[in-house]
């Protein structure tokens, strides 16, 4: 009896040791990476603060208070001080972070959709179409893109939707190259051949078999695109072409802080710190993901 139950126990344990999938492996490696985990925790806190922070603040981000201008940090309930119009910096910073993160996520999503579709079709169809599509990417690559984004902002005025589109349209190029390269190696794999043999159409193969298998490198590149987009938006805002006052973004706040820094250095320092922290989180997570998903580089 005892022996039998022991045997059953061993058997159970053997059954419970399941094979680990590649994704599970990757997740384990990711969670062992201290920098990446720190990045995820800090970023989580930043996102949470950006979402709920402005609601909890007693001030509105555009609330002008002529009596409370240029307050240093901690004065009269303004934890990070106030600016030339007496607006609470902490509230503006949280709203600005919210705007920057939103632009980061949405514009990256735009670039993701265009880049994956473009690269997967070019890589899978191949031949003349591939050559034409990739030549187009090459041409766009060699353009001074920042100038076109600037022209776009000047032409159509600065509204947030346009910022999404403009930046997203710039950032899809590298994505499409990565996806195409991956597709080229995937399309000769046995399972794709099996799908083709079973009569699945081209579109269905791309959607069902190619794209899901591209996920690894795409996820890595997405986490590295988000900070690039945030940077691009802030750059535009810094030049006065991005989000317009009284709306705030990290770049707009830094620009404002830079012009008032002699009088009120806190207006420059706090937004800069948040900006750098945000970018570092994304970069640590991206690097960690790359090491986890593609361990051959380690």
């Amino acid at each position: 009896m005892i022996l039998a139950s022991e045997r059953a126990d061993t058997l159970n344990r053997a059954v419970s040791v399941r094979g680990r999938s590649l994704w599970e492996d990757a997740r384990r490696r990711l969670f062992r990476n201290r920098a990446a985990v720190t990045g995820m925790v800090v970023l989580g806190l930043l996102v949470l603060a950006a979402i709920v922070g402005p609601w909890l603040s007693p001030f509105a981000y555009d609330q002008v208070d002529k009596a409370d201008v240029w307050l240093p940090p901690l004065a009269q309930g303004h934890l990070m001080g106030s600016d030339a119009l007496g607006r609470d910096l902490l509230t503006r910073l949280l709203v600005g972070l919210r705007v920057s993160l939103a632009i980061g996520f949405v514009a990256t999503f735009v670039s993701l959709v265009i880049g994956v579709a473009w690269g997967a079709v070019a890589g899978y169809v191949g031949g003349k179409l591939d050559e034409a599509m990739m030549r187009f990417v090459d041409v766009l690559y060699s353009l001074p893109f920042i100038f076109f984004v600037i022209l776009l902002m000047v032409t159509f005025g600065s509204n947030i939707v346009l910022i999404f589109v403009a930046i997203g349209a710039v950032e899809w190029l590298t994505m499409s190259r990565i996806v195409r390269g991956q597709t080229l190696t995937l399309k000769n794999k046995e399972f794709v051949e099996a799908a083709r043999a079973s009569g699945l159409g081209r579109g269905a193969i791309i959607a069902r078999h190619i794209v899901p298998n591209l996920l690894g490198p795409v996820v890595v590149y997405v986490t590295l695109t988000i900070p690039a987009v945030i940077l691009a938006e802030s750059f535009l805002s810094f030049l006065g072409l991005g989000v317009q006052p009284p709306m705030a973004s990290l770049g707009a706040l830094i620009a404002g802080g830079a012009s008032d820094m002699e009088l009120a250095p806190w207006l420059l320092i706090f937004p800069s710190l948040v900006m750098v922290a945000t970018l570092m989180c994304f970069n640590f997570i991206g690097d960690g993901l790359r090491d986890a998903i593609d361990p051959k580089d380690r």
Binding site: T155, L231, S234, A258, I269, N283
Partner: protein, 307 residues
């Protein structure tokens, strides 16, 4: 080789054409005109001004006119700076941008390659970790953060360097802008060099060199470095684009009379011809640099055949 250069230059023409077309119609689609001032011009005067610049014709006709003249090297007069042509403006303002860009990339290459090699040789040890931390910081701290902070700290509070201005390119005026421009480049270059170096140091011919008993210093300098800096050559084009982007910020913060500052101002003032001229100039620059990078790559790496 010559055929390759010729073909690349031929491909560059449609690219430039695309650039000109896109920029031309985007500029014209922008609301407002270069002749909007504080005072509204009388209709007759405005008509005369427009006629003088050929802007009373249909846009399509203007576009064709512009292409024809641009192909002959004539970029037209500035619409805002009445006595100057676009070429004058380019000529008068390119010097600060060029000086800063070249010095920044040169300094960044020397420092970046040295740091990268050092990190690769001490892989996963203290030096390596220190260099890579600095590299991550360099990537994550944008120019529009470093520039004002450095001005505030070093120029304003400590008074060691001037806060702004060009001053005919005097060294003290150059230092901060160059540091700001070079920092992100140092970060990227050291990362690229480290990655290349680590890969090369594990290759067979380096092992052979070691087996022959060559001293490590010689292996690093003669055998490994040459292959390890290859990725840097392809980085030349993107680096240039990065410097141009950086120069927009740096020239604004340090109030330097360069092309970057001009571009944003001209775009906001709807100075069509100046904006077009600068777009063409920068697009040409990037095209040429990409070609140079590819040629250099082929020279340094005999495995690459240009066809």
């Amino acid at each position: 080789m010559l055929r390759y250069i010729g073909r690349r230059l031929l491909v560059a023409i449609p690219t430039l054409f695309l650039v000109i077309t896109a920029a031309f119609f985007m500029m014209r689609a922008a609301p407002g005109s270069p002749f909007d001032g504080d005072r509204k011009l009388l209709p007759e005067i405005e008509a005369n001004v427009l006629a003088q610049y050929g802007m009373n014709k249909p846009v399509g006709q203007q576009y064709v006119d512009y292409l024809v003249r641009a192909a002959q090297g004539d970029l037209g007069p500035s619409l805002k700076y009445r006595d100057k042509t676009v070429l004058d403006i380019l000529k008068e303002n390119y010097r600060p941008s060029l000086t800063l860009g070249v010095l920044a990339i040169a300094i960044a290459s020397v420092i970046g390659v040295s740091l990268g090699v050092l990190a690769a040789l001490r892989q996963n040890r203290f030096t390596d970790n220190a260099v890579m931390t600095v590299a991550i910081l360099g990537v994550c701290i944008p120019t529009f953060v470093t520039a004002p902070l450095l001005v505030l700290g070093i120029a304003s509070k400590l008074g060691w360097l001037p806060t702004a201005g060009w001053n005919d390119g005097a060294l003290p005026n150059l230092i901060l802008p160059i540091v700001v421009l070079a920092l992100p480049q140092i970060a990227i270059i050291s990362r690229l060099t480290r990655a290349g170096m680590i890969e090369v140091l594990h290759s067979n011919y380096v092992r052979t060199a070691r087996a022959k008993g060559l001293p490590e210093g010689l292996i690093v300098r003669k055998h490994a470095l040459r292959a390890a800096i290859l990725p840097l050559v392809s980085y030349l084009g993107p680096a240039c684009a990065g410097l141009i982007t950086g120069s927009l910020v740096v020239e604004r913060i340090f109030n330097l009379p360069g092309l970057g500052k001009f571009f944003v101002i001209s775009a906001l003032q709807r100075d069509y011809t100046v904006v077009m001229g600068m777009v063409i100039f920068y697009a040409g620059l990037i095209l040429v640099l990409n070609l140079v990078a590819d040629l250099l790559y082929a020279v340094l790496d005999p495995r690459v055949r240009l066809a």
